[in-house]
């Protein structure tokens, strides 16, 4: 086992193999269709969390508005699914528009008739928006709390904008999707396929984040987080360094939003405003924002806890969540991953830098168990 606990390529591959086994073998085998679909939803949050871990944990940007990018991906996907459903029925406009008396597809819906444009839009629009925003914000040296407030205001504005739009379903949002690129969404096999797709995306996202964290760029990002001005005097523009991490985080959030739609079956302004944007952050903080897997496992864990606890104590969860957030941020800024490293260091007595993001196969396992 020692080769599995030592950092190195063996442990990395073993970690990914175990994660793949759990996601593709164990989870579908032991979970009911309903629970598996729930887990798929949590994996969407985990994808967002991986990006937040990079931007916030490694880059020091408190991204309080990831709901914007999540929402963009989600609404683009939802619009395409609604159009496709209407086409199956032979209608020109989605069902909710007929009820509202809209006879013709609004111009901004038309591009999403094409599956290709939709997919490209999901991949490009959130990332491009983040790139432009990032350039505007970071080049002007807006940072810290100002950046956080700005990004949160953006999430609020986006949600408010959507509430007022009849052509995106207003505050009800878009829902009742029948098909996903031709596959019937009421068929459990297809729901299972969605789980596999989102699981594969999550593994890719973790692999990409890992590469970014371990690359020279990842080291530079930490340097920018800790000593932004010093980096400038070494000949780098810190704004560029930050924009990259911010854009990657938005890219992940957009993909997660797009997958959220067929899995959950609804997207509304309530899923992308301030509260969900903060909720994305809580799992990241609790799991350990500076690590690779902390945000991912934290997001899954918190989402699971929310689902199971709010089933039994609907009103208590909000308070528990707030308390957990305060306790973790106040007393364990490194999150659960930080506590784990601390214990490991005590046990081995070594003071090797804990900077290496850990792949913890066993943790992956234990986080999955409660979802059974």
């Amino acid at each position: 086992m020692s080769v599995l606990t030592r950092p190195g390529p063996v442990r990395t591959w073993a970690g990914f193999a175990i994660a793949a086994l759990v996601l593709f073998g164990l989870a579908p085998a032991v979970l009911s269709d309903f629970r598996l679909n729930l887990l798929a939803k949590f994996l969407c949050f985990a994808i967002v969390a991986a990006g937040i871990g990079l931007a916030w944990g490694r880059g020091g940007m408190l991204t309080l508005g990831q709901g914007v990018f999540f929402g963009l991906g989600a609404y683009m996907m939802a619009m395409h699914l609604k159009i496709a459903d209407a086409e199956v029925r032979g209608d020109t406009v989605p069902d909710f528009m007929q009820i509202a008396g809209i006879r013709e597809l609004p111009a901004y819906w038309v591009p999403f008739t094409s599956p290709l444009v939709t997919l490209l839009g999901i991949l490009l629009v959130p990332a491009l928006l983040a790139l432009l925003l990032g350039l505007g914000v970071f080049k002007r040296r807006v940072k810290g709390a100002y950046f956080a407030i700005l990004s949160q205001a953006l999430a609020a504005a986006f949600a408010i904008l959507l509430v007022g739009q009849q052509s995106t379903g207003g505050s009800n949002g878009l829902n009742r999707f029948r098909t996903f690129f031709g596959y019937d969404l009421s068929d459990p096999i297809n729901k299972r396929m969605l789980f596999f797709i989102v699981a594969a995306i999550l593994l890719l996202v973790v692999a990409a984040t890992r590469q970014l964290m371990h690359s020279r760029y990842g080291e530079l990002l930490v340097a920018v987080r800790d000593q932004e001005e010093r980096v400038r005097f070494l000949g780098y523009d810190p704004a560029t360094v930050k924009v990259v991490a911010y854009t990657v985080a938005a890219f992940f959030a957009g993909i997660a939003g797009a997958m959220f739609v067929p899995i959950v079956g609804i997207i509304s302004p309530a899923d992308i405003g301030i509260v969900p944007s903060i909720a994305f952050l809580i799992g990241v903080a609790i799991g350990g924002r500076t690590t690779l897997l902390g945000p991912v496992l934290g997001a899954i864990g918190v989402a699971w806890a929310q689902t199971s606890l709010s089933e039994s104590f609907p009103s208590a969860w909000t308070y528990a969540q707030g308390l957990l957030f305060i306790v973790v941020v106040g007393f364990f800024p490194a999150g659960l991953a930080g506590i784990a490293t601390l214990r490991r260091r005590k046990r081995t007595g070594s003071d090797a830098p804990a900077e290496e993001p850990d792949i913890e196969p066993t943790a992956e396992n234990t986080e999955m168990e409660p979802a059974r």
């Binding site: 590469q211 020279r216 080291e219 930490v222 340097a223 800790d226 005097f233 000949g235 780098y236 523009d237």
Partner: protein, 260 residues
């Protein structure tokens, strides 16, 4: 190895930094008031002066941190008006009064980042595999070779300053502006820092902002004295020490014997 000497040691081919009529104003207060200075390669220049003389502001202006008027050219290239990171890329490096290394990163990572401003995106996205020759060289020059894999945050105070200087070396700066590099150092550390400055000063233009007069006397090859934003004297250590204006300025704050 050649030693730093007064007036530079590289003859006509040398790199230089030329400062002409440099002025920095903050809300009507003139911190740097028409400074002219010419700095040559291979001349270990010390910049001294009483508190508030504008020494650090002068360095800030050269490195683009505060806006200034006048002209600063490095081997013919105008620096004023350029952004901080652009000036750094032109080979002007600086350190700060308080060491500002990347504490969570190892010594090697610190140096690797300092060496990498010109890297392509593709190189940035890959892992750091080997140690660049210039980093090995800097580790040796600064004597930090044995500490390469420890986080910079747990280095001793003096070692952090040496790491900063090492970062300037791998950054390929040929103009080095060091702001009080020996502040807070022990006697032995000062001595070692002085030797380090002599080693690196032979091939570069080094300016040391300093309060420690013993240190200045031991290692400077030329001295510029700044008071109230103006250059009041310039020359060898001896010339400056015998300058009546300098003596007067220092008499205002402390006794001459104590100060010089």
């Amino acid at each position: 190895m050649t030693e730093p000497t007064f007036g530079g040691n590289a003859g006509m081919s040398s790199q230089y930094l030329e400062i002409r009529d440099l002025r920095v104003q903050f809300d009507g207060f003139t911190a740097v008031d028409g400074v002219d200075m010419t700095l040559l390669q291979g001349d270990l220049r010390f910049l001294i002066g009483p508190n508030g003389a504008g020494k650090t502001t002068l360095v800030d202006a050269i490195t683009g941190l505060v806006p200034a008027t006048g002209s600063v050219t490095k081997s013919g290239v105008e620096l004023l008006g350029k952004k901080v990171h652009k000036i750094a890329r032109l080979g002007v490096g600086r350190t700060f009064q308080t060491a500002s290394v990347f504490e969570e990163l190892t010594v090697l990572q610190n140096l690797d980042i300092a060496a990498g401003a010109g890297r392509s995106p593709w190189q940035m996205l890959r892992r750091r595999k080997d140690v660049l020759p210039q980093i090995e060289e800097a580790l040796e020059t600064t004597g930090l070779g044995a500490h390469r894999d420890i986080p910079a945050g747990i280095l001793a105070h003096g070692q952090k300053q040496w790491l900063e200087i090492g970062m300037l070396l791998v950054q390929n700066s040929d103009v080095l502006l060091l702001d009080e590099p020996v502040a807070g150092m022990s006697h032995d550390e000062r001595e070692e820092t002085g030797q380090l400055l002599r080693r690196i000063g032979a091939e570069r233009t080094v300016v040391v902002v300093e309060h420690d007069m013993d240190f200045m006397r031991a290692f400077a090859t030329s001295v510029t004295v700044l008071a109230r934003g103006k250059v009041i004297a310039e020359g060898t250590v001896e010339e400056v020490q015998n300058d009546p204006q300098v003596q007067q300025v220092y008499l205002g704050t402390a006794s001459l014997e104590e100060a010089l």
